[in-house]
């Protein structure tokens, strides 16, 4: 009864029970944190161009380039159990056939870390407001540029370029009506359930106020001026120890 092995087993069993209980309590504590998020999105410019937007496009298709303004206050989404918030804006437009759900395509995304999250190259760095871009190349200015000028969850973006140019599966996008930009988030906890955007109220969680733009239409195909996209900071990884793309090893 008192051998070393039994003692190790007992300690390990106790550790597992405690760890499981603590993890459950932390996961549940997320839901009792009050939050009242708000956001506003405005369309700035939309162009539809015919070309080959993807690296795999073998034929020309119509793609949309959407610029927008974004103001968010998502500070309260960050509680002690939040590791990061994956924020995204998607363009939602109805299907041409009635009765089908609308199509969705993400045009921009950002990974907002909590202060407790370890640094990662993919973390979003908010661009500095235009007033302070007087290019003082001091160490302090460089350090400030590496940190967001606003508290976490608060974004003020003007005339933001999209990260992705979107296509429809049919290859046709021009002249589609009732398009709307919609904000969405995915809160990644340290442990527990992942949550997405809540539009309705759940207990102490208020629904998102705003977060949808006015409806607009995709215009007819134009010449396409200034179609630069925002370059994300994502690295490129193939799945470690798993799939390689058909056709051999591709890198970058």
């Amino acid at each position: 009864m008192h051998s070393a092995l039994v003692r190790v087993q007992n300690v390990f069993g106790f550790f597992t029970t405690v760890a499981f209980t603590v993890a459950t309590l932390i996961a549940l504590s997320t839901f009792i944190n009050p939050q009242a998020p708000s956001a506003s999105i405005k369309l700035r410019n939309v162009q539809v161009v015919r070309g080959r937007p993807h690296y795999y496009s073998y034929k020309k298709e119509e793609y949309a380039h959407i610029k927008f303004d974004l103001d968010t206050d998502l500070f309260e989404l960050f509680n002690w159990n939040t590791k990061q918030v994956f924020l995204y804006i998607k363009a939602v437009y109805p299907a041409t056939k009635p009765g089908l759900p609308p199509s969705e395509a993400i045009i921009w995304d950002a990974i907002l870390p909590a202060s407790s999250a370890p640094w990662h190259q993919n973390h979003y760095i908010h661009p500095s407001p235009k007033k302070s871009s007087s290019a003082k190349k001091t160490k302090k200015a460089a350090k400030q540029a590496a940190e967001s000028p606003y508290p976490r969850g608060i974004l003020h973006l003007e005339n933001q370029r999209p990260k992705y140019q979107i296509t429809d599966i049919s290859g046709k996008l021009q002249n589609r009506t009732d398009v709307q930009l919609e904000l969405g988030w995915n809160v990644q906890p340290w442990v527990g359930a992942l949550v997405w955007t809540n539009w309705r109220e759940y207990g102490v969680w208020q629904g998102l106020k705003g977060g949808k733009s006015e409806t607009f239409e995709f215009p007819a195909i134009g010449a396409g001026k200034k179609l630069d996209t925002e370059k994300g900071k994502e690295g490129h990884r193939l799945m470690a120890g798993g799939e390689v793309p058909v056709g051999g090893d591709k890198k970058g």
């Binding site: 993890a23 996961a27 993807h54 690296y55 795999y56 590791k83 990061q84 994956f86 995204y88 998607k90 299907a95 041409t96 056939k97 089908l100 759900p101 609308p102 199509s103 969705e104 395509a105 993400i106 995304d109 990974i111 870390p113 999250a117 370890p118 990662h120 993919n122 973390h123 992705y164 979107i166 429809d168 599966i169 049919s170 988030w185 995915n186 990644q188 906890p189 340290w190 442990v191 527990g192 359930a193 992942l194 997405w196 955007t197 994300g232 994502e234 690295g235 490129h236 990884r237 193939l238 799945m239 470690a240 120890g241 798993g242 799939e243 793309p245 058909v246 056709g247 591709k250 970058g252």
Partner: protein, 150 residues
């Protein structure tokens, strides 16, 4: 003698059958045949690191942009856990909707990883979406897996 033996092995058998029934119930409730997985690639960093344990749910018929579906093509040894960035319903084939995925840690979308000639994933190839997770624990399972292979 036999009675004593049975008396001793019964608790173990009880535990094993409870685990089997619990596993079968969880498969029914989540509608996934593999409702727990270990993340084995870095393509979803910093949301999901290698060694995290993820819990899946497959009772939501429609996948939305922003979800994290687990895509398992026929004939592939391993599934892919990436983010859905586009969802389209107007498609020619018999499936309900088509999804384009991209890993958070990848610069480009996943079309290069799909079977030849495919630009989208069908809903039927999505085995579930990530709904919960526990960090780090999967390292133990990955370690045991690599140990077994050796």
């Amino acid at each position: 003698m036999i009675r004593r033996l049975l008396h001793e092995i019964f608790p173990a058998l009880w535990l094993i059958s409870a685990a089997i029934i619990g596993h079968a119930n969880l498969r029914l409730v989540t509608n996934c045949s593999d409702y727990v997985m270990v993340v084995s690639s870095e393509s979803m960093e910093p949301a999901l690191y290698r060694g995290d344990l993820i819990f899946l749910w497959n009772r939501e018929e429609q996948v939305h942009a922003g979800d994290i579906p687990v895509v398992w093509f026929d004939g592939r040894e391993l599934p892919m856990v990436h983010r859905a960035i586009e969802v389209h319903h107007e498609i020619d084939t018999n499936c309900t909707h088509a999804i384009l995925t991209k890993g958070d840690n990848n610069l480009f979308d996943d079309v290069v990883l799909y079977p030849v000639g495919r630009n989208h994933v069908y809903r039927e190839e999505v085995k579930g979406s990530v709904r919960g997770y526990v960090p780090f624990i999967g390292h133990l399972i990955l370690f045991v897996k690599s140990w077994i292979v050796l």
